[in-house]
């Protein structure tokens, strides 16, 4: 998937975000290099979702900057995002994918081919002509991921992708995500589910009240967090 001129690494330089006069995300800095799965971990309201939106460009930082690798400017967007509650267009499963591809500028033949490929890859081929909004919650999230995948992103953002799913569907999505990482797609996702972070993360960014408290390889983070907040969180003492 990685082309010669990658958009990665993504560099977040003291990017802060405030709304309604309150500082919601503090000026955090971190870098996302190519490869692996980074988990944004933290309790509700820690600023995980806002941080993902800042990275994806849905929000503009009030201070600081979000930068892609040199030469990424002005080229087609090579990162995509999947949301907590799947946003399904009122169209068929296939049309949900071809619509995103059309928005990205793919021509008609290309849209068809890439949609078919995505449906095949994510086990939705039989559902192609069904209305997307009649799929089950797990299938909808699968379609959302397939739709993002069809855009051929180098970096995929996911915001709490399983928080509304039952355990079986959650399991399925987690397997899909591992598959994407194995395929070479860099993944950055948020979760407040410790078990999920343990199962998936290569690296953990721990956020608390808008501040990036810890940035460590997953192994080290779970073995021995440095901060009191992270220790409390791992101990199950939920912090606000």
């Amino acid at each position: 998937m990685l082309s010669a001129t990658s958009i990665l690494p993504l560099t977040v330089e003291a990017a802060a975000f405030s709304g309604d006069g309150k500082l919601l995300v503090e000026p955090n800095s971190f870098t996302i290099p190519a490869g692996g799965l980074t988990v944004l971990l933290g309790p509700n309201g820690a600023g995980k979702s806002l941080t993902l939106r800042l990275c994806h460009g849905l929000l503009t930082p009030s201070r600081g900057a979000v930068r892609w690798a040199a030469g990424a400017e002005g080229r087609a967007k090579r990162h995509a995002m999947v949301f907590q509650k799947p946003i399904m267009l009122r169209r068929s499963v296939e049309a949900n994918i071809t619509h995103a591809l059309a928005a990205a500028g793919a021509n008609s033949a290309e849209r068809k081919a890439r949609a078919a490929q995505a449906l095949q890859r994510f086990g939705l081929a039989e559902r192609a002509s069904q209305p997307a909004r009649l799929l089950s919650g797990g299938e909808q999230q699968r379609l959302a991921i397939a739709r993002a995948w069809a855009l051929r992103p180098e970096l995929l953002f996911l915001d709490e992708p399983t928080s509304q799913l039952d355990p079986a569907a959650t399991r399925q999505i987690e397997e899909l995500l591992s598959g994407l990482v194995a395929e070479g797609i860099t993944v950055m996702m948020s979760t407040h589910d410790l078990g999920q972070a343990r199962r998936l993360a290569d690296r953990v960014l721990f956020l608390h009240r808008g501040r990036l408290v810890e940035d460590a390889p997953a192994k080290d983070f779970f073995a021995g967090p440095h901060s009191a907040e992270a220790r409390a969180f791992l101990a199950g003492e939920l912090l606000w």
């Binding site: 849905l58 946003i87 267009l89 169209r91 990205a104 009649l134 855009l151």
Partner: protein, 233 residues
């Protein structure tokens, strides 16, 4: 006058297939549907743009549109009349007392409804779709085609509301059309005429036919949108 006479009059109109009567029905549908079509072509994109754009005076425009939904047809008719009269600014076009004039007047009646309801529908839909559409790079005006297409069933209802207003009104078409027999006489102006002739059963019979037509069109649209909505979820 008994109820039987009304139904008898309505029945005779429909079964008799009198060419004059059919002409009236056809003209009514032609004028109203054309007006709704034109209002849709203008109002759907405009309503969607109004839903997405943020500019000073937007709130004032929305309030005005909501108020215009209640514009008395006679006022719209009078305005078009003064515009199209030979002594008015558009007089040289010679459009007064033609079906075209009636279409213009009805577009003015229907357009605020279409714009205002479209704005509401598209604003709600944008609230739901915003994250995804912005994520795939569809922002601002570029999001409009997607939103209009995905709002199609709710928007069909907006167009039906416009159709209802246009097909039921008599004030505007009477003034600008002149109720000319065989040329600008519609169902509603014919009802007015028959009432003034004192032929109340025929007037009510015509009303019954108009009601049935409106009912049929609504039923078809409702059914189509239900089937479509089931398909699109």
């Amino acid at each position: 006058m008994d109820v039987g006479a009304i139904f008898q009059a309505a029945f005779a109109l429909v079964v008799g297939l009198d060419p004059g009567f059919l002409g009236i029905v056809f003209l009514s549908l032609r004028v109203t549907l054309t007006a709704v079509l034109i209002a849709a072509l203008i109002g759907l994109p405009l309503g969607a743009a109004l839903a997405l754009a943020r500019f000073p005076g937007r709130a004032a425009i929305i309030v005005c549109l909501n108020a215009l939904m209640g514009l008395p047809p006679v006022v719209a008719g009078l305005a078009v009349f003064l515009l199209l009269s030979r002594s008015g600014p558009l007089g040289p076009l010679g459009l007064l007392f033609t079906p075209t004039a009636m279409i213009i007047a009805q577009v003015i009646l229907v357009l605020p409804i279409v714009i205002a309801l479209t704005r509401q529908v598209i604003e709600d839909l944008w609230g739901e779709y915003r994250d995804h559409l912005r994520s795939v790079g569809l922002e601002g005006l570029r999001a409009i085609p997607t939103l209009l297409f995905d709002g199609r069933f709710a928007l069909a209802t907006a167009l039906l509301a416009g159709f209802g207003r246009a097909s039921a009104e008599v004030g505007a078409v009477l003034i600008v059309g002149g109720n000319i027999a065989g040329y600008t006489r519609t169902m509603t102006t014919a009802i007015t005429l028959e009432t003034s002739k004192g032929d109340l059963p025929l007037a009510l019979g015509l009303g019954l036919v108009l009601l049935s037509l409106t009912l049929a069109i609504n039923a078809i649209a409702f059914g189509a949108s239900r089937i479509g909505a089931r398909y699109a979820g």
